[in-house]
């Protein structure tokens, strides 16, 4: 019977290979599917049963029950089967649940309800699995407080990490600023025309346009806007390519992530969309962009320093930022007569 046993094993292995070849890994196999592969001679049902059982024992097949109480099987990868073989029954159960969640991870409570294991047993299983380096905990941006697990070999999906802009579940402000700055400068380079400085004729023309601009500083570059018909503004695709080519990002960023960031830049009024979002144009020319970015580090301490939009009556007048403006009445405790903000304001503006 030993020969028969080994032939069953061989046959089972053939069956497994045929299944892996012809179907995707998450296909559910019915009896007919397995027979139709033509591996089992004479459609011998008892032989098929033996083979299937052998595969299930080797953890290469997983036995499931379909809706109509029929038995179905699913393939398990050889590596996973290898791992499963080393696990106890409960651990295997937990591993399967975590395995089924794929790249999105699964919450501990969900594992508990699916496996119906006691919490202490579940904890032991998880610990064992983690010790064997089969699974890992992940941080989900949407549910930062939930403890979630996924297979150690997988990278968490977009919805778990929050996309390219998150590092360990936290918005990576530094990275975003770097990429945003790079994008603004790149777009700016393409949306303004740099006047060649050595060109005598253009220099002369400049003088009429901006007064004595070129006398001040010959190193200072002059930028001109492109005429309305110009179509060389970069698209989201161009920008993505430029970002990925540069050395600033360790991972390849998808176009979707870049579009997200471009939208943010549009809200910041650094870029504008042209032709319904097809092209992007920068509002500032490269020199100004550079100057603004150079100023940024100092801004950290003093956020009031950069006012791009200019001022108006309410921001200049002492009444605008006055914290007790609502209480101010002539003759009251807070009144224009006793106001303490006017005198410093005179000093600041008039210099005495």
């Amino acid at each position: 019977m030993a020969a028969a046993g080994s032939s069953v094993k061989e046959l089972a292995s053939q069956l497994y290979d045929a299944c892996a070849d012809q179907f995707s890994t998450d296909h559910t196999f019915y009896q007919q599917d397995l027979l139709s592969l033509g591996v089992i001679p004479n459609d011998d049902l008892s032989l098929l049963l033996e083979c299937a059982q052998s595969l299930v024992n080797q953890k290469l097949f997983r036995l499931l029950e379909a809706q109509n109480k029929r038995l179905v099987w699913r393939l398990v990868g050889r590596e996973d089967a290898e791992k499963l073989k080393n696990l106890t029954g409960d651990e295997g159960l937990v591993f399967t649940v975590i395995h089924s969640s794929g790249r999105s991870g699964v919450w501990v409570r969900t594992i508990q309800s699916r496996t119906n294991l006691h919490k202490s047993i579940l904890d032991r299983c998880l610990k064992a699995l983690e010790g064997k380096n089969y699974i890992k905990t992940v941080h989900n941006v949407k549910h930062p407080t939930k403890k979630m697990y996924m297979l150690a070999g997988l990278a968490p999906g977009e919805d778990v990490t929050g996309g390219a802009w998150f590092t360990d579940g936290v918005l990576d402000a530094h990275f975003i600023n770097t990429v945003a700055g790079f994008i603004e400068y790149t777009v700016s380079r393409k949306s303004w025309y740099e006047v060649p400085a050595d060109h005598g004729r253009t220099a002369k023309r400049l003088k009429t346009a901006t007064g004595k601009a070129d006398i001040n500083d010959p190193a200072e570059k002059t930028y001109l806007p492109y005429p309305p018909a110009y179509t060389g503004y970069p698209t989201a695709e161009d920008i993505t390519r430029a970002v990925n080519k540069s050395a600033i990002t360790p991972v390849q960023l998808g176009e979707e992530s870049i579009v997200q960031l471009l939208q943010m830049l549009c809200f910041d009024r650094k870029l504008v969309e042209l032709s319904n979002g097809k092209y992007y144009k920068s509002l500032k020319n490269p020199a100004l962009v550079k100057a603004a970015q150079a100023r940024k580090p100092a801004d950290g301490e003093e956020p009031q320093a950069a006012i791009d939009l200019g001022k108006n009556g309410m921001t200049e007048s002492p009444c605008g930022p006055c914290p007790s403006f609502a209480l101010c009445t002539p003759g009251g405790a807070i009144s224009p007569e006793t106001c303490e903000y006017f005198d410093p304001w005179f000093e600041k503006v008039l210099g005495f």
Partner: protein, 645 residues
């Protein structure tokens, strides 16, 4: 007209500042009790008959009070006109604008008319300060704010600014009629009609009564009668209130006396920057006055026909708001567009100003999103050709099209070559270049029609591209700019991004808001809560069940610009009042000293009578006052954006 507490406070302060306590008292009573007959007014104001009659007469002259005599009970009712009171604060800006456009003499006429409330042409003829082009020496510099500073003294004794003893050295008759005509054809001055002394509501009711008593309308019934009456009322109102002089006085669709800033530049060196020349309007006026006012002679014989002698004119604030608003649009363009483009835009706006009579059709402030769109009259680019300095370099402002794009475009080369021509100062070439220049002007306007400017709109009419302005859209843009400035200065640029996201996307919950705005939780929550405390954003709760548990409730953040504008407008009124009140406080502090400087023997001879310290003190005081008044004017800019544009 219903006005808020702070607006009323401000108007009262302005009247008190300009005309004195009597006016302010009458105005306050009328504001508080609205419409009053004489006896009631006397009772509430506790003034004597004499005082009240004097006061009312002068206030009616200044259009600060409406009056209406009812045919039913023969009573005359008085009502305050807070709008006219508010415009007192804008007088400085208006005079500046008129001086910039039509010269110093026109500004002087304007000032006189403002000062008198309204004036007949014959009366203006007799005024000594309008007789000669040169100013009486005492008021060498016309501070635009002087109008508001002048204290109550001056009202009683009429035109003070002329010192009768001053005999002009060269007696050249001033072009009073021509200048008046220029002012009227620009629409800055308008005729005073009987109806303009009555409040809008009275005018409407009276017109309605007349319309419904017409025999033709009486015969009709039901809905058709109503419609007929409505139509008649509107046309009657229009007929009675029609005071615009500009249409009849325009020459070829253009008002008279347009100053061409580039007219004399052609003779000088052409490479002189045109921009500086434009600025000249404000600064170095004194020397050029004679020259600039000469336009009346070199135009056509038309101008020698005098204005109708009996006509009474007043300032047309509605039209001036249009002009002031256009200036704001130009400054919008200036922020981002190249200088040449701004100049082109300015001349387009000037053209549009000539056929726009007021900023809005309706008097109430339109709500965000419900304002519809109001377009100006379309102007073909060819018309601008004559208005733009022929020596201005139009092509140098753009980069050559074919430098970096692969798109081969024949036209791309043209502006380049043209630019070289422009440099050669060759005036003769202008005619053959006419079409090119028109094309270039189109290019400039086209640039402005694109994002981020969106300042112009192109329409195809009669087979050619014409340009117009979307007034409502731009007014909205100005409004948001003012709000965003305030938000940026108070809450930083993070808040600005949040506000823009909320404005673009509507109501959002925190999670979604964070995803779009790319902000860390902590910053976002901090900003949102501080802005909520400041009244800029609001939180809406949407409970999922009847228990309204917080855990089962969706919280949505939103930004309602209408609400914010409303509260900011009130704050602005209040800040203006406080600033004016502060001027009084500061004046009181220096009361004794200032009284000394205002003594009739000291005034005008400060250097002789005052010590050095006193002179310095005086200078400081003047600076301070100028600063405070300037601040009021800046605040008024905001009011204009929120309320008038």
């Amino acid at each position: 007209m219903l006005m808020s507490q702070y607006a009323v406070e401000l108007c009262t302060l302005l009247i008190e500042d300009n005309f004195g306590e009597l006016f302010a008292r009458i105005f306050t009573v009328l504001q508080r009790y609205e419409r009053l007959p004489f006896a009631k007014l006397k009772f509430h104001s506790r003034l004597t008959d004499r005082q009240l009659r004097h006061g009312l007469t002068a206030m009616i002259q200044h259009h600060l009070v409406f009056h209406f005599t009812s045919l039913e009970d023969n009573n005359t009712y008085y009502e305050s006109n807070p709008n006219a009171a508010y415009y007192l604060v804008r007088s400085g800006k208006i005079l500046n604008l008129v001086e910039d456009r039509l010269g110093e003499y026109a500004a002087r006429i304007m000032e006189t008319v403002m000062f008198l409330g309204h004036a007949s042409v014959t009366h203006l003829e007799t005024l000594p300060q309008l007789r000669s082009l040169n100013l009486p020496t005492t008021n060498g510099t016309t501070d635009p704010n002087e109008e508001t500073q002048d204290n109550e003294m001056e009202v009683e004794d009429g035109p003070v600014q002329t010192n009768g003893d001053h005999a002009p050295e060269e007696f050249k008759p001033a072009p009073l009629h021509a200048t008046l005509k220029a002012l009227a054809s620009h629409g800055y001055l308008m005729r005073v009609r009987d109806a303009s002394f009555q409040s809008p509501a009275d005018n409407f009711l009276e017109a309605q009564r007349v319309a419904s008593s017409r025999p033709g309308n009486k015969a009709l019934k039901g809905k058709r009668q109503q419609e007929a009456i409505e139509g008649d009322t509107q046309s009657l109102l229009q007929e009675r209130l029609h005071a615009d002089l500009s249409e009849t006085l325009m020459v070829n669709g253009l008002p008279r006396g347009i100053k061409r800033k580039w007219a004399n530049a052609a003779s000088g060196s052409t490479n002189e920057p045109r921009l500086a020349n434009g600025v000249n309007g404000n600064g170095t006026h004194a020397g050029e006055d004679d020259e600039e006012n000469d336009w009346s002679e070199d135009e056509d014989g038309f101008d020698n026909v005098p204005m109708e002698a009996g006509m009474v004119v007043r300032v047309n604030y509605e039209k001036l708001d249009v002009a002031l608003r256009n200036d704001r649009f130009v400054s919008l363009a200036e922020q981002q567009a190249p200088p040449a483009t701004t100049r082109v835009y300015e001349s387009l706006l000037r053209r549009i100003e000539y056929n726009t009579t007021k900023c809005r059709d309706k008097t109430d402030i339109p709500r965000e999103g419900e304002e519809g769109s109001l377009y100006s009259q379309p102007i073909p680019a060819d018309n601008l050709l004559r208005d733009i300095d022929p020596h201005m370099d139009l092509s140098g402002a753009f980069a050559p099209l074919d430098s970096s794009s692969q798109l081969v475009n024949g036209r791309g080369k043209r502006p380049l070559e043209n630019g070289i021509n422009g440099d050669h100062d060759d005036a003769n070439e202008d005619e053959e270049n006419g079409t090119n220049r028109a094309w270039e002007i189109n290019q400039h306007l086209n640039l402005l029609s694109q994002a981020p400017y969106n300042l112009t709109v192109c329409v195809e009419l009669y087979g050619s591209a014409q340009w117009q302005i979307n007034f409502r859209g731009l007014a909205r843009k100005l409004r948001h700019l003012e709000l965003e400035r305030m938000i940026e200065s108070r809450y930083g640029d993070v808040a600005l991004r949040v506000i823009r996201v909320l404005h673009a996307k509507g109501k959002l919950d925190e999670k979604r808001l964070q995803e779009i705005s790319f902000l860390p939780w902590k910053d976002l929550r901090q900003t949102l809560s501080s802005m909520q405390a400041g009244g800029y954003v609001d939180l809406q709760e949407v409970p999922k069940d009847a228990q309204r548990q917080p855990s089962k409730t969706i919280f949505l953040w939103y930004y309602d610009p209408d609400r914010v504008v409303g509260s900011v407008l009130e704050d602005t009124y209040k800040a203006m009042s406080r600033t004016i009140q502060r001027i009084k406080v500061e004046r009181n502090r220096l009361k004794d000293f200032l009284e000394k400087t205002e003594r009739s023997d000291v005034k005008g001879h400060e250097e002789e009578y005052l010590t050095d310290e006193e002179l310095e003190l005086l200078q400081r005081w003047k600076d301070k006052e100028a600063l405070l008044l300037g601040e009021v004017a800046r605040l008024d800019d905001m009011v204009a954006v929120f309320r008038d544009y």
